[in-house]
């Protein structure tokens, strides 16, 4: 090493002769997040968000179901009402007359 005798340190490489394990800084940051409770806070926040979304989804399904049932009931009720309405419009005597008139003609056909 005689050639180092009058060495000026500025001539030595300023590159640091150290390295770190692979992915060290990412891991370190995550570890610090855990130590200060930041990840827990984040997880809690995420769970809350998902709970809101799930509640909204259930709400939409329940509301849809209720509307569907109401519509179905209305449709049934409308059909019943229509039948009653038709029957109420028919005169009972004219109905009897119609049956009486049609009866002989049907027996003659035989």
């Amino acid at each position: 090493m005689k050639n180092n005798k009058n060495i000026g340190i500025e001539k030595i490489s300023k590159e640091l002769p150290f390295s770190v394990p692979e992915n060290y800084f990412n891991q370190f940051a995550l570890q610090m997040d855990e130590q200060i409770g930041f990840r827990k806070h984040l997880q809690h926040k995420n769970i809350k968000t998902w709970m809101y979304i799930a509640a909204m989804f259930i709400g939409i399904i329940v509301t849809g179901q209720v509307f569907y049932s109401i519509n179905q009931n209305n449709a049934t009720r409308n059909a019943d009402n229509y039948e009653s309405y038709v029957l109420s419009q028919v005169n009972e005597n004219s109905l009897v007359d119609l049956y009486v008139d049609e009866a002989p003609s049907k027996s003659n056909e035989k």
Partner: protein
């Protein structure tokens, strides 16, 4: 987009944003602080411990940070104090031992998986280890990181004149070490 330093300081004062702001600070400054510490303690595992202590001290002392200095200056100060405390404790442990602490540090450095220097770089580390700790700090900050004397003054609380003198003497000692070794 990362928040500015002013925004981060503002977030510190709000308990709900504090952890998030600190997480960004860790990611922003961890590498710079790690290398600042590593140059002093040399071994990766030791640097990792001191870095953790640094950030935990910062986290617990957030209330004391009023934004009258830059976040980086504040963190460098904590890291420097933690490093010097670590080295003092290490020296205390070796006080009654026949082993010389600097020699032990050098041996550990040689066997450290994360040291990949050549012969001349190892010799430079040996030479730096002969300096008093404060002088080592000044030398490392100037030589490797080219930190300005004004920034160093803010971090170390030493006047620019004294820092310049300290660096000058450090360089002379290291050059003498090299010539004496030959």
């Amino acid at each position: 987009m990362n928040p500015t330093e002013e925004e981060l300081v503002l977030q510190f004062s709000q308990p709900t944003h504090r952890a998030g702001a600190f997480s960004i600070i860790v990611r922003t400054y961890q590498e710079r602080l790690y290398w600042h510490i590593r140059k002093m303690v040399l071994i990766h595992d030791d640097a990792n411990d001191v870095l953790q202590n640094t950030f935990m001290k910062a986290w617990n002392g957030l209330d004391g940070f009023r934004g009258d200095s830059q976040i980086s200056t504040w963190l460098y100060r904590i890291a420097t104090n933690e490093t010097l405390t670590f080295l003092t404790n290490k020296r205390m442990r070796f006080q009654n031992s026949i082993d010389d602490v600097d020699e032990v540090m050098l041996q550990n450095l040689k066997s450290d998986t994360y040291f990949n220097g050549n012969e001349i770089q190892l010799k430079l580390q040996k030479a730096i280890l002969t300096l008093p700790e404060k002088q080592r700090l000044v030398f490392n900050m100037k030589y490797y990181d080219d930190i300005t004397y004004d920034q160093m003054e803010a971090i170390l609380g030493t006047s620019v004149g004294a820092l310049k003198a300290s660096y000058h003497f450090a360089v002379k000692k290291i050059e003498k070490y090299f010539s004496d070794e030959d």
